[in-house]
Structure formats: C-alpha cells, structure tokens
Symmetry: C2
Subunit: 591 residues, 2 copies
C-alpha cells in the first residue's frame, strides 16, 4: 500500500479534517490498547523497523485497536547529532514509512524525526493505519536540561500553526503527546483534553534514575485527574551509552487510577481494554478520522499491574541492563575485569555475570609487592562463587622496569604518588593488552565517590570501555552488595570483601581513610556539592566541617580533567558525571 | 556609592523611564568609545573584577564616554553548569555590583548572569555609571547549536515584557545587544534601530574558527548598513578549555564602513571617537537617561584598523593562545612532549615553545627496537632548534617485561596490534610518570585525521592533559609547519621531519600509508563526513571511492569511544571532536 500523505505540515496534507461543532460524547466503547515497550538501538534503522513491525503483528494478533511505540523508536533514543545529518533524517523517514506500510486495521503510533520544507526538524509521532500515515504530531515541550539537548535539534510543535489535532480511533478522540509534553499541567495534554480527547497516548524515551517510576506514576495520575482524561504511557527499555531506560509503561483511567503497568528493564507488550467515552466531537480543534468503531473484542484483555521494583532492586536492574546493552550493542560478548579483592571490582564482576553470563566474564588478579594475601584469596573466592575465569598476572616485572627506566629522571626526588600511579597504569595496560589480543571489553570498577575526588589513576584503574558503577557513591556500593547477598540468600560476594577496610594497596599498609574522610561523611558532602549544585559556602552553613568541605570541593573541581577522560557508565542518579554535568575544566571558582 | 536598583526586571526598577514622542534627532555629537577586549578566566570572579576595574580606569583616563566589556565577563565565557549553582550566580552578581560601584562618569557595559524572582537566569549586560546600575539588558537570541548550550541555562529577553530599552549616553541613543543578537537581520538590532538607536554596542564571547573574523566583519557591516546604525563590537580573547576567543573587536559606521579594529589573540583597549546623531528621541520605546552630553574631548582618539591575520597566521595564533591559556589557567608552567621525530610532535613542540618559552618545554625521546636512527637525530635537531631540553628514555625494559608477563595469556595467538599498542602505552605511562613526579603537563600530539579514524592508541599517545593540534587535519599540519618555517625564515622545523613519510614506528618498516589512504584523499573524505555531516552514501555520490568512503566512515564511527576519552584541545574548525560534535558511541547507523 502506498503512502499518500507528505509527512510535514500534516494540517494541510490530511484530507479528512472535519471541524465538528461542540457536542458532548453520547456513548462509550472499549478500546484495546497496546503499549509496545521495546528496546531499539540508536542508528539501527532496519533493526528497529523489524522490532516495530514484529511487535505490531503481535498487537494485531491480540486484537488491539491501537498500539503505541516509544519516542523516536525509528532512530532509537537519543539519536544526538545523527539527526544533523540530512541523509540520516531521510533514511529515518523512509524507515517510518516502511512501518506505516506494514499497518492494517490496528493503529500504530510511531516515534520518528520529521522535517519540513524549511529543513526544520521535529521530534514526531506518526499515526498510521491501513498502510497510510494518517497524521503526524510534533512534540511541543522540548527538554534542554540535564541529559537532554532537544532544543539543539528540534523545533517545537508550538511553532507550527493549527494545533491541537486529535485522532479518532475506534470512535474515541485520542490526543498524542511525546514525553516531556505530559510533565506540565498547562501543556498539550490540557489543550487536547479541552478539545475533547478522552485518552492521551504519551510515548517516551524517559531515562531511569532511582525512584523516577514513582515520580512518573504520581505525575501521570495527576495529569489524568486534572484533565478527566485517561493516560496511556509507553516507555523505552534498554541501555544507550550512559542512559538506561526502565520501561514501566502504564495505563491510568481518567480518575488517575493505575490500571496496568509493565515490568521494568525488560521488553513488553502491555495489552489492556479500556472503556472510554466514544462518539464525542472535538471542540475548537480538528480531528483526524482514523476509525469510528472499535473492533469487537471476543475476550477481555486483563490489565496486569506489575509491582514496582524496590529501590535497590531497580538499581540492580538498571546496572545489569546498562552493562548488558552497552557491551552487546557495541558488538562485544565478553568482558575482562581486574579483580583486586576489593568491594568495587566484586560488585562489577557480579553485575557483569548477571548481565552476560559467567562464561563471558574474565577476572584478572594483578598482584604487586604491596598486595595482601587476603586480596588474592578473596578475589579467588569471588570468582569461584560467580563461576568466572580468573587468571593471575604479577605486575612486578613491568613495575621494576619502569622504576629502572625512570631512575635517572627521578634522581633526587622522593617516592610519591608517581609510583602508586605507575602500578595502576601497569594494571590498566595489562587489561587493555588482554582486550586487544582476545577481544574482551575492559570494565572499570571506580565508584562515584572516588571519581568525584580523583581517588583513581587516569589511564590506570579508569582505563576501559565501560564504568559500570561510576554513578554509585561508595555507601551505595555497600548497600547494593548487601542487597545482592540477601536476594541470592548466599555470600555471593564474600563477606570478607564487604567487611575489610577499603584500600588501593599501592603502598605498604595503605587504607583509603588515610587519604579520605569516612565514606559516609564524604558521600554526604558529595551529594550536596555534585548532585545538588550547592557551593562549598552553602554546605558549610549546613553544618559540615569547613576545612573538609573546602578540601572536598577543591578535589572535585581539580579532578574534572581526569573524569572527562573516563569511559561512560550507567547513569542512575539525577546528576551523574556525564552529559548532565557540564562543568568547565578551567575553572577558578572557589565558592 | 550604593547601588539602588534591583537588577532583575529593570523596567520596573529604573526610575528614569520616559516614553518620548517620535522626534527626529536634531544634532550630532562625538562619542568616545572604548572596546575592552579582555581575557577573563571562567569562575575567577575576583580576578575578572580586577581586570574590568583596571581596564575601566584606563578607559576613563583616555576620556571615554562609554567602555564596553565582553559577554559574561564577570564569570568568564562560557561558565557552563557553574551557573546552575545559585551560590555562584549570587557571587557573580555581587562581583558585578562591585564593578558598578567603581564607575564614575564613563559608562561601563558589563556582561554578567542576572536572575529574577522566579529564579530564571539571563545572559545580561549591566549599564553602569556614577556607581550605579542604570539598567540591564537581557540577551534575546540564545544560541543552542554547535558548542553553544545557552538555552540550557538562560531565559530569552524576549520572554520579558516592555522591550526594547535604549540608553542615552552622551546624548546619543544607544542599543545594547549580546553576541548572537546581532547575527540576525530581524533581531533586536533592527528593533532598537527602529526605536531610535544611533549605535549598537554588541558584547561578545565569540569563539574562533578559521576565517570567522571575515564572516563577522561582513555581517556587522551589513547590520550597520541595513539599520543605518553604527556598530561597536567587542570580543573576548584567550583560551577556555577547547575554545579560543580571538578578539578582533571592531567599530563600524552607520554605512557599514570599518573604522577601527583590534588585533586578534591579544588583550586590547580600542578607543575611537565616533560622530553620531545626538539629542534624538526614542520611538515606541523607553530610554534610560544616563548622560545627555558627551564629554568634551581635547584630542581626537585616532581609530586604528589592525589588518586581519592571514589564514595560517591566525591558525598559528589560535593554537599558541589556546595552549598557553589552558596550561597557565590550570596552574601549570611547564609541559612535556614525547618527541618521536615525526611532524606532529614537532609542530606541538614548536607551538608550545612559542606559547610558554623554551625553558618551559621538555622533550622526551622514547626509542624502541623499531625506532629508526633518523627519528632520534631529527628529534634532537628539533630540540636544538627550539632550544628545549631533550631527554631519552628507552622503552625496551618495560616492553620486554609486558611481553613476558602476558606470554601465558597470549600463548598461541599471533603478534598483532596489541604489541603496537603496548609500546604506545608504555610511552604514555612514562610521560605521565614524569608529569606526576615533576609537575609538567603532558601535551599530546595527535592530529584530527588520526583521531577521526582511530589511528592512535587510547591511553598511549592520546594520554595527556591537552591535545594541541587535535582539530588540525594532517594536511593542515603540513601547511602550518611550512608556514612556521617561512615566517621564521629558517628550518625551525627540520625539513627532514617535514619530508619523510609518516610512520608510527611500532613495527618494522611501518608507514602510515600501509594502513591509511594518502592524507589528501583521507582528509577530503573526513572534511565531508565529520565537518559537514554528510553520510557515506552522499560522499560516494560526490565521486569518492565507495569502498574507501565506507571504510573511513566506519572507522570514524567505531572510534567514537576512543576519542571520547581523549583530552581537550584547541578548536579551530566549525566542527571539532569536542562539544560541537555529539555523536552516540553506541550507534548502528551505516548510512
């Protein structure tokens, strides 16, 4: 079937516009709604089309009247600067059209990048059925904060005349919105509801942070209640660079009651029947007629409300999905991890094993003259518990070689951090050699507390492809390890690893607390300084030790250049060391 | 003197508002204008205040009626996420007020971050004299493309009612605009000119790229002509992370004629007398009365038009300033560079010597079993020409140690890139050891062609604090080296280094052209793919070899993860591998 409508400027191109007089809905009908919680890959247009069309077929087989896919599902979200390539945008439109051509009598809502004759780009949703694009909605509220740069790319639908547009699907007036659109009370949901929409279909690429699913549910419930409009919310799942999308798609009635929810972190097609006012007409607006009667449903699609994960369980889920998708979507199967016998590498190895399978995780113990016996035995115990390979490579030969090579240059200078960094860099280089030779991706093991204050070696322990726990404060590392042991009911992570005092073991009898304050004290300051954008002066007024706060703040600022050269990792907080925190390296502010 | 005006919402707070009837200007006067082309440091509020007040004093001593400072000069430009700290914004306002208090009868225009009671932020200019803030202008057009993220931070002045506002200075109606504001024909310059402005003062933090000063002059001339309004354009100088600001402040008459220009890349106070219609009144607008009569000038401030740099000379200037400011603003005095005897490290050492002085540049030759004799003698010749220190550290002991350490893990696998990467990583680790022990910043030597296709070793030759020539294609490296020798009239960079075929010398008889196409062919493709956002398919239709284009495009995409972990460097093109190119790492697009 051919597509007859140009996609831009759908007001002009859609021939079925009817401006109805104001009439109250006279009857009601049952709409079967599918929410396609899929895991697209950025840039993989053909692969994403395949996922969309095969999921469409499932929704069709289950008798759906409408199935909604996720925001920019054609390109994967977020496509970033790929959309600045006109050729990419053209390819994405062709991919969307191939999905549209695939549709029959179930309406599909498909996220893609649209463009107009002026070359402006829109974060758009195509409403398709019967092989045709029936209309296109342009996202109105474009987030440009945190990890979001949408105003860099897209023009708002508000800059296009003649909105709002509703769609009659199965006799029900339906409004379409995209992600951010629904987070504001006076946004397009209100105007669409006022125009007569009984249901808003909201398609999302909403990244995870801890507790966000609760915020979403509360917001969606409020949006439904205040507009007397049912809400169908579909969200992407899976990892994309530093972002993880947790799914958790939801259906809420017009009074804000949660009717159905998908699980988090897995693909899902949520199907539910929803009774909605039918036959109503649009006020002060236009409605595109897609279908006037819902399909006759032979059986009831029972709504399932999957319980929300607990806090630590959703954190665990996010990290597992984040590492799995980063590794696999980048063409790797196996990872290698330096196992020091410490808690950070133990957690990373445990997460990687869950994500990839024990056969795909390779541990390397790299002892030096300063390594304790306990470290090696603890690493061995962990590897045995996880069922992963462990090899041992002593770094002594290279360490001695460097000391000899540099001796003339170092003459007369005392031993200092240089020698500690050398050991860490030898370990990083050794892991990278294994990576290069065998094709394993190196996972780094630094946590957010260490990254914040620079308690790591650039090109040493920070060397690798993915920094799994870079957004976990050290106190959270402990919480999560204890949680993992509780959930497995065993000492999967040996208790000795959890209990021993943290040490980098880069000089005799070294312990972290010789260089850093206790982690609970440090993390409290970091949470304020890094995650909440407070100044040192403000944190001091909250009662923290002035000298310590100044020192920690200075360390955070000074180490920006090191963090900037680290690998990406899973974002789980509202402010990770990634694209949601854009501090200058050259920065003389000492407030 | 106290400041009496709240800074936000200046319409309400300024008491001198007078809405004049429409009257044509009756007379003319001479305004002495100072353009303060300064080099602030981001975050250094006290330091920036000191530069502003001392420059103000010079302008005052030279009899200026008005002196304009640069965009966000209080904070330094761009302050990035620093402005998300409310404490920082408060400190920046206090710093601006201290500058305002310093003013007497010369009007100062000072860029700072303003905020209103809703907590919205504005990219603002304070118009100050007599110790008071007379009014505040809010930037209207906020760039959010390329390296700019201003919509992430700021609200547009267009979202504040009752604009435009003009300022009467020395009897002349003056409009204030900020950077991007002047780049659009139907922007605030037009509305201000229509309201009666005879002069627009445009303050800038306009980053350099090659040839931009010519684009600016053309645009400013057009803006002046079409509005019959003189233009005073002041721009920041100096380096800030990857950005370089080139200054080149200009004064143009109402007919678009260039009257004065500052040199590029150095601080300057440009003072010039400009005859302007005086005593006119503002139409359909409000004017804040600052001073009705220009000071009586005893002598004429002669306008100087500094000639524009030639293309390669401005490139040279940008690189020298970029490395100098990055090193010094980050608290370093000395740098260390691995001198391979190749052209890239030769260029970097030459630029660093110009920027920092020969005593502050340290070369290290790190031969391996694969190094040619010529490489060592060429490096020695270069060091002698530049007058810099050169030490030699053979990497053989560490190389052999790693080979021995890894032998069990590598058993049965052929020699491959792993062994090449090992050598490069040993060199990187050695330079970092010198950096750690002695306090030198490591400068890396990779060029844009190599970075694009991944022809470098992560944690090896890419390890360091600043990547001086990362935005120079290899063909440009050659051009610039030849230019340097021409400008010095000597073989400052030994001709042997320029003439020999490029080689990484990581295996016997290695040459770049065994792995890569000739650089002129490669660079032509990279220019299209990277700098012009063309897809591989589009480049092929332009006549380039299909297989080669596909291979190069694939290499560029595959190596995003490596580039992401590299240090910043000087941006000189319209699209560097930095914050103006935000491609996903996980990216399956093969168009």
């Amino acid at each position: 079937m051919g597509v007859t409508l140009p996609l831009h400027n759908c007001e002009r191109s859609v021939k079925l516009f009817i401006a109805y007089p104001e009439v109250v809905a006279a009857t009601s009908g049952v709409l079967r709604i599918g929410l396609a919680q899929i895991n697209p890959t950025v840039g993989d247009l053909a692969g994403n089309v395949a996922v969309i069309t095969s999921t469409y077929d499932k929704a069709l087989a289950q008798g759906c009247d409408v199935v909604a896919f996720t925001e920019l599902c054609i390109t994967g979200y977020p496509p970033e600067d790929l959309v600045l390539k006109a050729g990419f945008v053209a390819d994405n439109r062709a991919a969307m059209l191939s999905c549209a051509e695939h549709t029959s009598d179930c309406v599909a809502v498909i996220g893609f990048v649209d463009t107009d004759q002026q070359g402006r780009l829109f974060n758009a949703a195509a409403i398709c059925s019967g092989g045709l694009v029936r209309g296109v909605y342009f996202k109105e509220l474009l987030p440009n904060y945190g990890v979001f740069d949408e105003q860099r790319y897209f023009t708002s639908g508000l800059d296009v005349p003649n909105r709002p547009v509703l769609f009659r699907i199965g006799g029900v007036l339906v409004g379409i919105t995209i992600c951010e659109d629904i987070w504001t009370a006076d946004g397009p949901v209100r105007s669409q509801a006022q125009a007569g929409a009984a249901l808003t279909l909201n398609i999302n690429g909403s990244p995870f942070h801890r507790g966000k699913i609760g915020e979403r549910e509360e917001m969606l419930s409020e949006r439904a209640r205040e507009n007397r409009c049912a809400v169908a919310y579909v969200n992407q799942v899976g990892g994309q660079d530093e972002l993880v999308f947790d799914g958790g798609s939801m259906l809420l009635s017009h009074d804000g009651t949660l009717l159905a929810r998908s699980p988090q972190f897995v693909e899902d097609l949520l199907v539910a029947d929803l009774e909605l006012p039918s036959g109503g007409t649009s006020k002060d607006s236009v409605a595109i007629e897609v279908s006037t009667v819902a399909k006759r449903q032979n059986s009831i699609a029972r709504a399932v409300i999957t319980p929300r994960c607990t806090d630590l369980e959703e954190l665990y889920g996010a990290l597992v999905v984040g590492v799995r998708d980063y590794v696999r979507k980048n063409g790797f199967t196996d990872v290698v991890i330096g196992l020091s016998g410490g808690i950070d590498s133990a957690l990373v190895a445990t997460l990687a094993t869950e994500a990839l399978g024990a056969n795909h995780v390779h541990g390397v113990s790299m002892p030096s003259r300063y390594s304790s016996v306990g470290s090696e035995t603890d690493a061995a115990k962990l590897a045995a518990n996880l069922g992963i390979e462990l090899q041992t490579i002593s770094i002594e030969p290279a360490f001695q070689a460097y000391l000899d090579m540099c001796a003339p240059s170092f003459a007369g200078k005392p031993v200092d951090l240089t020698e500690e960094n050398l050991q860490s860099r030898i370990r990083g280089t050794t892991l990278m050699a294994l990576s290069n030779k065998i094709g394993w991706m190196v996972l780094t093991t630094g946590n957010k507390s260490e990254l914040a204050v620079g308690y790591f070696t650039l090109y040493g322990d920070s060397a690798g492809g993915f920094a799994v726990i870079k957004d976990l404060l050290k106190t959270t590392v402990y919480e999560l390890c204890n949680h993992i042991n509780r959930r497995t009911g065993t000492e999967r992570i040996p208790q000795a690893i959890i209990d021993k005092p943290p040490s980098a073991e880069l000089r005799p009898d070294q312990r972290d607390d010789q260089s850093l304050p206790p982690y609970d004290v440090l993390d409290a300051i970091l949470s304020l300084y890094v995650e909440n954008d407070r100044t040192a002066a403000e944190i001091i007024t909250l009662g923290h030790d002035p000298g310590l706060v100044r020192r920690v703040a200075r360390l955070v600022d000074l180490n920006e250049y090191k963090r900037r050269q680290g690998p990406p990792g899973v974002r789980v907080s509202t402010k990770a060391f990634g694209k949601d925190r854009r501090l200058p390296i050259t920065n003389a502010y000492r407030g």
